[in-house]
Structure formats: C-alpha cells, structure tokens
Symmetry: C2
Subunit: 277 residues, 2 copies
C-alpha cells in the first residue's frame, strides 16, 4: 500500500521519469502494473541498479535486513530512504551495515499515512496529501541529499518535519504502536471470551472506530512493536498505571474523582479534534 | 442528544400527536424548540402528567434517581422507558422504587447509537435508523406494553432485540464501557506525560479513530462505568491479562507468537468489518 502509493504519487505529480517497483509476490507485481502504480516491476532487486532514488517499503525489520544487500543493488549516486514507522533500530542497522559513502546518501523517513488495509489494491495517489512525513536524517546524512528527499515528500503533498530517530520512536510508541497493541488486545479478549462474539454483534459506532486499527497487517505490526520494543513497553507501563487509577476510582465508587479523570481525557480529545481530523 | 433525537424521530415519523420535553437547562430547552426536536418544552417534570409515553434520557444514575419521583409525574396508563447504556442496576432501582402497577408499564431500553457529541445541538432525526435497540423487559413488565415500546423503536428505524438486563450489561461492558475506559486512559496518559502533547501533534488517522470515544460526555460515562462496575472491572481484568501476554511476547522478542496474537485480532476485526460498518 505505502510503496504503491508512493509510486502512484510520483507518477501523478511528474516527479520521476520512470518508476520501477521490486516486489516478491507475482500477484502484487501484476496488480501494481495494472493499477498504474509503477511503469515497470520486477522480482529482482538487482534491477534497481539504474535508479536515482530507492525507497524501502517492506515492514521495518525486513527493511533493516535489506540494508545488508543494499550495496549490491544501488548504483553510484543513488539516494535511498524508507517509509517505516520505527527509526532508531533501523538507523542502528544502517550504521552497522552501510559504508560511510552509503550513509551520506541515506535518509530515514516515515510518512504518517495508511490504514488497516495493505497491498497494491489499497494504494492511492493521494495517500500522503495533507499528511505529515517525519525525516530522521543521521548526523552522517548529506544535507543536500536530505533536502532532495524532503522536496520529494513536499511535492507529494506532505508536510515534512525533521526529528531525531529516538524522539521519533517515543512519539510513535505513544500515538501509534501502543494504540495498535491496545486494539489488538481488545479484539483478542473478545474472541477469547465465551460471550465475546455475541457481544461483538452489539458493537456500535464507537467500538467500530476504536477497533479499526486492530485490522492492521500482522507482519507489519509485529515488526513495528518488536523494532520499538523499549519505547512500546515503557508506554505500556504508563498505560497500565492509568488503568489501575481508573480501577481504583471505579471500585471505590469515587464518582467525583472518576468524573474529573474522564473530563481531563474528554477535554483533551475535544481540544485535539480539529488537529486530529 | 439521545432524548432530542427521539423527539425528532417521533415527530418526523408521525409517531406522536405531541412531543413534550423536560430539560433543566434553559439553553437546551430553547435549542430543542428552535431545532424542532419537540413541540413544547418545560423545566417542570409535573408537565409530563398528560403524556402516554415517558422516556427517561438522563445519564443512568440520574435516571435511577428519577424513578423515585416517577409516580408523582406519570398519569395513569402512561408507559415509561429509558435510553441508558446500563440496565441491571437501573432495573434493581425500579424494583425498589416502583409500585407493582408501575413495574408493569416499565420497559428498560438501550438504543445503541450516539457519538462523542452531546446535547440538543447534536440530535439528529435518523440517529436510530439502521441501528439496534436492546429492550430488557422485567418479568413484571406487561407483554403488550413491551410490544408497544418495541413497535416504537422499529418505527424509528431500529432493529429491536430483547435480552435480560445482566446479559445486556456484560455485553456493553465488553463493547462499550471498557473501550471508553481504555480511550480515556490513553488520552490521560498522553496529557500526563511530558512528551505526550508533542506526540499528539503527530497522531495519524489510526489514533484519530481509536481515540474518538475519549471525547465522550464525562457525566454520562462516569455514571455508566459506576452503574456497571462489576462487569467493567471483570472485563478490565481480562484486558490486563491480554496486555501482560503481549508484554511478555514483546519483551522476549517472540516474533512468531506475537504475529499469531496480532493475526488473531486482525482476522477477527476484518471478519467483523461488514457487521461493524
């Protein structure tokens, strides 16, 4: 979905003379071509040799593994970047696996876009329009190379923000990885509980929206949670402390303190409404 | 919102000769009249004397308190019902506070509709169209009275299901009360954490949907969580067990088991997609 959407956006905005995709699954290659997400497609990474810009769009741990082979595929002068939702581990892999020359031309990136859908069928030309893309250039990254990647995301309609990789990972543990973990846990509780499937039949629009992210692609989210495990577990602990506070207020029947706790959350969510929509 | 939407739906579908509202807040009374949610409105509950059907639409604990006064307000032959999201405690209050005659004419109800909005400004004529309404008639409830209330909700476009009050409360602890509690906890964690407000600025569409229910009305949700506390705390414990399982898989880096845990949730959410949308 993300890689295909980048291809579609590059083509639609005239940002590349030629968009070439590499994809191991034959069905996805065919669909990417049929939907016009790419000009050409191959299963062979060595076909990337003549590309000026290479965007790694696999799940995050797979992207990190791909860095081992990247020198075999990239032509001299190629810029490379990614679209993964965790950054510190990926940057550490890059420092371990890439040459000094390659590190200069490496710009870690994370477009904040997507949905519970995946694959080329879900790719859209305007996925990044009006959204934010975070760049986490290394100290080693050449400033002009980072500026080229920034200009590319801007041209696809995205607002670009730069942030150190560790700060990025703390932010996305909080607003993406932990919420996904919570939604997975809520769905698993329902299907594990003897009355859970009956209950699901009575879910309303609140649960529909709350649980939507539980439909996320398993491999993608497994890798994101593991790649960002320290931050995810720290935010999970903080969340459990909030649950214990709520449990105590409910068990004691402390309606005033419970209302204040809920009102703090409700006020914050309502204040964030415009920003979140 | 719920009471006003009932008024609007009754009027739009020609289900009442006259819709009269009782509301303590002057601004809400004016808005309900201006928006055509009611024909007349008053702050005085004794103005309900000539109504054939009375619908209690305050938060659940307030509704229970209103039962103490209900015999002062209702005319002979009036049917009364409610729209609250917890039922067992409300039914227990009814058994304690109502006469045998009143119990026959009492039909506890819960339309599964709403949003994070509240008040007459948020009322809509089609809030219940295509949604489910649960009726929890008591053993004491007259079957013809329950049939009248069922016909009313059907006429407002709702599918009606009957269920015992305790079963209802377990279901809605699972798919409504606990998810609200989780969303409140997630928002409170963000605003209590030194980096949380910065992180909120990077939230994407996933967090937007996940957290929407955190904007719920504090009094309403305080009362719902307290009125259903035994079920809510039981479901909270089950949820925390899921979190501990996830924590263990992430801490151990058990990618296979973590992927299976996520895939179970993702498959269930995708399978429920049509039903939830």
């Amino acid at each position: 979905m993300i890689g295909g959407s980048v291809g579609a956006a590059l083509r639609a905005n005239g940002l590349a003379d030629h968009v070439h995709g590499v994809e191991p699954a034959a069905a996805s290659r065919e669909l990417a071509l049929a939907r016009g997400l790419v000009d050409t497609v191959s299963e062979d990474p060595s076909s990337l040799r003549d590309c000026d810009l290479v965007i790694l769009a696999a799940p995050v741990l797979r992207n990190a593994a791909l860095l081992e082979r990247v020198s075999d595929w990239l032509g001299m002068g190629a810029v490379f970047t990614d679209v993964g939702s965790t950054k510190a581990g990926f940057c550490a892999s890059a420092r371990r696996l890439l040459s000094a020359y390659e590190l200069k031309r490496f710009v870690p990136a994370h477009p904040i876009a997507g949905s519970d859908a995946s694959g080329p069928a879900a790719a859209t030309v305007d996925l990044f329009a009006g959204r934010t893309t975070v760049l986490c250039p290394l100290a080693e990254t050449d400033g002009r190379v980072a500026a080229r990647v920034e200009a590319l995301w801007t041209a696809m309609g995205s607002r670009v923000v730069q942030m150190p990789a560790d700060e990025h990972d703390a932010v996305f543990a909080a607003v993406s990885h932990l919420p996904h973990l919570l939604a997975f846990a809520a769905m698993n509780q329902l299907i594990d509980h003897p009355s859970g499937r009956t209950a699901l039949g009575f879910a309303g629009p609140g649960f529909r929206d709350f649980s939507r992210i539980a439909g996320g692609e398993p491999q993608l989210w497994t890798e994101a949670l593991l790649a960002n495990r320290a931050e995810v577990l720290a935010w999970l602990s903080g969340f459990e402390a909030q649950l214990e506070q709520a449990r105590s207020l409910i068990a004691q029947g402390d309606d005033r303190a419970l209302r204040e706790w809920i009102a703090a959350a409700s006020d914050a969510r309502r204040a964030a409404h415009t920003q979140l929509n």
